[in-house]
């Protein structure tokens, strides 16, 4: 462990409160209006007033391949839009531009507070399911720019994007869809216990998974999180101030992000690209936080597409490369069988397309001991991932300062 890389702001910034809207297919109110209500509720939950907030951050991407317009307040909600709607003139207002919007924006919030640029930062994420047509269907007649390298041959959208490395994994390691069924069933079993989830009280059996329609082999419809309307917000402040607020603080111990290192066609994710950068991201995360994979009680892995759970398990070191499928089949991530609770919060597959929010929320709820009847006995440390290991990132949280 290289102390030079240790996160200087470790223990200095904490989450003090949160709020989340119901997760629904199509909300009956504009996304911006929901975001304002959720932000106000999160600020109140933290025991603060809107006037106390002097910072905002988010990652406002509309994650579709369908070419829908990103309209602020309608299909996306930026920090600037939210601050203005709340009537705040913030000292710090920012948006994360890359993928892995949750770890990316957590980094911005933590850095702003640790540097003194802000005292109280609202981090929100607003996700929108466009009202008409299919989510990723794109009506283009001409493929220009980057699209010219893929669209004319029918390679388009994230389903084929993830299908290629998924199949590469199946072929290389002799894994099967039967093994992946355990990932999805676990997410849905846990999501079915969560009242705000789109999938509340609707678990999925292994047989239902295996009978599902294939979209881009080996990806079937249940390997993909379902597009939803939903907003979540978290309130960050200094550790000192958080300790004086109503809820137990949850501290940020470190974070790391990955970036693709090889130039590729658009949406071309070879398995080795994912894993090579993923292992580097993981090494940085452990060095930054000063913890190791064995120290994590609540590891929340990203599952917007189910194969990402296997990739994160291996990249982070929860199991050796090529063995995640067997690890999962042996009960390694089954809460019922005493495995790692990597999907205890239901993930994206068990909640809906909330883009890293379920992972962060589960870390917060468990570490602040606010998870109610889902509370895990051992919940001192947590890890929340988002996106792919080579495009996204991860944050390590602790219930006590390290």
């Amino acid at each position: 462990m290289n102390a030079r890389n240790r996160f200087a702001a470790r223990n200095r910034v904490a989450i003090a409160g949160y709020a989340q809207s119901p997760i629904v297919r199509h909300a009956d109110r504009p996304l911006g209006a929901i975001a304002v209500d959720v932000a106000r509720a999160a600020i109140a939950d933290a025991g603060l007033r809107v006037d106390d907030v002097d910072g905002f951050t988010t990652g406002a991407l509309l994650p579709t391949a369908g070419g829908q317009a990103a309209v602020d307040g309608v299909s996306v909600v930026t920090s600037n839009w939210l601050a203005e709607a709340l009537g705040v003139n913030p000292r710090f207002c920012s948006g994360f531009q890359g993928y892995g919007q949750i770890p990316g924006s957590v980094g911005l919030a933590v850095n702003a507070i640790a540097s003194g640029a802000a005292d109280v930062v609202v981090l929100h994420r607003a996700l929108h399911n466009p009202p008409r047509g299919r989510y990723h269907a794109n009506p283009m007649t001409h493929a220009s720019g980057y699209a010219q390298w893929t669209a004319p041959q029918g390679f388009w959208g994230p389903l084929s994007m993830i299908a290629l490395p998924y199949n590469e994994y199946l072929q290389r390691y002799g894994a099967t869809r039967e093994s992946m069924a355990h990932v999805v069933a676990e997410a849905r079993a846990n999501g079915a216990r969560i009242p705000w989830s789109y999938w509340y009280q609707r678990p999925l059996t292994i047989d239902e998974y295996l009978d599902a329609r294939l979209i881009s082999d080996p990806v079937c419809m249940y390997d993909c999180d379902i597009p939803v309307d939903g907003v979540a917000a978290f309130v960050f402040t200094t550790a000192e101030r958080a300790r004086a607020l109503p809820h137990p603080p949850v501290y940020v111990a470190g974070f790391a992000q990955g970036h693709p290192m090889r130039h590729r066609l658009p949406q071309h994710w070879p398995l080795d690209d994912i894993m090579d950068v993923g292992r580097e991201t993981s090494e940085r995360l452990w060095a930054h936080s000063g913890l190791s994979v064995r120290d994590i009680d609540v590891p929340q892995l990203y599952d917007g597409f189910s194969p990402l759970v296997w990739f994160w398990l291996e990249a982070l070191g929860f199991c050796p490369t090529g063995e995640a499928h067997a690890f999962v089949e042996d009960g390694g991530i089954s809460v019922e069988r005493g495995g790692l609770p990597v999907l205890s919060g239901g993930g994206a597959l068990g909640n809906g397309r909330m883009h890293g929010v379920p992972q962060m929320l589960e870390c917060y709820l468990q570490l602040s001991r606010r998870a109610g009847d889902r509370q895990l006995a051992s919940a001192s440390t947590g890890l929340a991932c988002h996106s792919s290991p080579h495009f996204g990132g991860a944050v390590v949280y602790t219930a006590e300062p390290l």
Binding site: Q153, G154, E168, Q171, L214, V219, H263, R264, L265
Partner: protein
């Protein structure tokens, strides 16, 4: 009437690629500074970092090795509905290690494919003067 597939729009950096494709040849952009191939061409050479790569298109034989594949069963773009299901293969080209392309596999079935199977490039003419590369199996 059949819906048209999206037509590639050649630009300053890609014109050489599409001109070669129309002739039934695969031409890859090669950096004038470091001589490495790059796909797709970009403003900064990923191999050497020059900001003036002055790519020239060089014809390669288009043979390669299958790294992965998928069977597409849902059309997300116009013009592909009648082709469903179709196969896409992720191919590492012999021309340079690490250079990979994705294209239709116009023969064979998913059940018979293995990683490492060999393919050759072929072209599908989709409009006057526009052809799109795809692949055919060359191994038994």
């Amino acid at each position: 009437m059949t819906t048209a597939k999206p037509l590639p729009v050649p630009d300053e950096r890609s014109a050489g690629y599409w001109e070669a494709a129309a002739r039934g040849e695969l031409a890859l952009p090669r950096c004038a500074a470091c001589k490495h191939f790059t796909m797709p061409p970009t403003m900064v050479c990923p191999a050497c970092g020059t900001t003036t790569p002055r790519f020239t298109y060089e014809v390669v034989d288009g043979a390669g090795t299958i790294c992965s594949w998928t069977v597409v069963r849902d059309a997300f773009l116009p013009g592909f509905q009648d082709d469903l299901p179709y196969m896409l293969v992720d191919v590492e080209l012999d021309a340079e290690r690490g250079i990979r392309m994705i294209g239709r596999l116009v023969d064979g079935s998913a059940a018979m494919l293995r990683i490492g199977d060999r393919v050759a490039v072929t072209f599908d003419t989709i409009a006057d003067g526009l052809a799109v590369p795809s692949f055919v199996l060359t191994s038994a």
